[in-house]
Amino acid sequence: MSNTASLNTKKLLHTPSPHLFSKRSSAWIMQQVLIALLFPAVAATYFFGWRVLLMIAIGIISSVGFEYAYQKLRGLNITIYDYSAAVTGMLIGLSLPVTAPLWSIIVGSAFAILIVKQLPGGIGRNAFNPAVAARVMLKVFFTPWITNWVTPEPDVVSTATPLEYVGHFSRTVPDEVPGLWDLFIGTGLGGNVGETSKLAILIGLIYLVVRGIINIKIPLLYILTVAVITSIYGDYSFTYMMTHVLSGTLFFGATYMATDYSSGALTPDGKTVFAIGCGVLTAVIRIVFNFPGGVGFAILIMNGLAPLIDKYLAPRIYGHRKRPAQEHQL
């Protein structure tokens, strides 16, 4: 018999079940998110030009760099190879208008990685989505530089955003607002570079769902909730509702930000409430305040509420009548 034919019992592993492990790793999951972000990145480059690639590169390099430096200085395990910092950097790069100064991307990355992600303990421990927190911080503290609504025409011009027309108690869609098809494809639109083409985001969304990276219920319920509320508020005007659905950060946020593992809800029912909550807050902020960035605020508020939601919506265990009473501790 050949060498392999005999059983060398001394070399057999003796670890308890299960004996097989899924091939997915955290790094693989983050790679999938990066791949899914390529679709809006390509669309953004097509609409806004090569500067987009520079923005993404600076986002990734600075985020990964800050994570590496922080962990090196504090003598922690280096986790940049799990690609999560790269995801944050790419999100930040895609979250700003094409005119945003490049230093604002670095400031955003520093805030996201150092304050929001690493301070609470690094990957999996951040209560808030680093990229969302960074963009909201930039909007709050660094407006005029970065919130100008810029169209991708030869001479970039600042105009009002479609949301300013349909938000703030407006119930109709004025003619100045781009048509639904343009809003969907992203042609002639301004705004944050990654958010313009809903088509590209939709492809990224489908990719993430097919790969089993995100739960489709989060983006679906989020967008549906906004659709339902704006539809009711706009007297069931299809154009009004769809303008809301296809404008601003909704698609981008629902696909890439509300689905963030760490800052979202953990429990199945918690995810449902989280997504609907994001939708309600987004719609309310848009309708009531004349304020850009409703999606960012909505997601951050729900991030803050997620532990509480999980605490009350822990799944009912098989055979038990009630959900387990517990403290949510992570």
């Binding site: 034919a5 299960p18 492990f21």
Partner: protein, 439 residues
Amino acid sequence: MLLQLMKKREGAYTVERKRRTEHKPTEEASVPEYLIYPLSMHIGAPAKPVVEKGDYVKIGTLIAEKEGFISANVYASVSGQVKEISDQPTMNGKGPCIVIKNDYQDVYEAPLFNEGEELSVDQKKSLIEQAGVVGMGGATFPTSVKLSPPPEKSIDTLIINGAECEPYSTSDHRLMVEYAKQLIEGIRVLHEVLPVTKTYIAIESNVHESVAVMKAAIEDVDHIEIKELETIYPQGSEKNLIKNLTGREVPPGGLPADVHTLVTNVATTFAIYEAVRLGRPLTKRITTVTGEPIKEPKNLWVRIGTPIQHLIEECQGFQLKTGKMIHGGPMMGKPLTSGQVPITKGSSVITFLEKEEAVRSERTPCIQCAECLHVCPVSLQPILISNAYENGDIDQAEKLGAMDCIDCGNCSYICPSKIPLLDNIRSAKSEIKARKEDN
């Protein structure tokens, strides 16, 4: 479709590895010179030897007697001589065993009842008990105990479990394909001894052949329904089968009888048929010997007591280096370190894995992906129990339902950060048990 996607899965789509043995008809395995019978090849009290060194035994001679209510008889599966009663390696570590030297004469003991004898319900139940029938899907719980529940827990629903959800196992599948008639007869026996009004035969939809054969076999039998179930692990777990088929949930710490249900594995049903229709005690079973390292994987009719080493030779040895030898499947099986461990009543599959696939990669921080919650068949939050255990908070682990864990292994399997979730939950469980015993 969308709703389906949004639903909690309560299971994992583990790799499916039945292909190498799925279409291989069962073969009679050759019989070794020495056979080893652990006194504890069932859940409950070990059986008590009723033979002594030097005694002559036949196939079907009682060699160890059940002791107490939850226990089971053990029979010789060859004719020959009792060589010794001593500690031998078993799947649960070293334990007392009867070793018999085969004389290769294959002399049979008389059946458990005389041919043509009319059997009463109690006699039939007693035959199942006498024959040493236990749950042959791996749990090895004595079947007779399940057949005699207290009156307020009378059985109205019977589930024949052919949902063989462990990735490599095909022994139940082959039994259904090749012995459908006998299985139906076994179900008839159960109908004769229990006030059952509804019977389900549960089969995973990936094994089309057994679904087709069983469908044809039940055509002229009333009250039986074939339930084709999604191929998802652990579809065949007793608790999940009951919930999926009847909507009932077994209460915490309870038994299927608490919800008026009896679940028996197909191999057990076959053993019931043999006991009550033919008067044969349980002395052999089908065992799948498989896994990539095995050169010629097979579905074998094996005499109980046959050492695994003998079956490896029966399958032409190995073509690749083995990293792990498992009694059972890769999700719930027990790791073995000796080829001398014998096939027992619950040995539905012996799986061999290459080293690379059996090694867990390095642990990384939890990313809160919630996959472990998603795949838990009893809706636990494995990561939270694991965290509670690692923080030394056993109270919290208990509140989170550690004791409800059914050990299926899905959480550890799916975790992208390779956190030893099930190991931690098991440790939490034993600490909770230890504390209860202290009080």
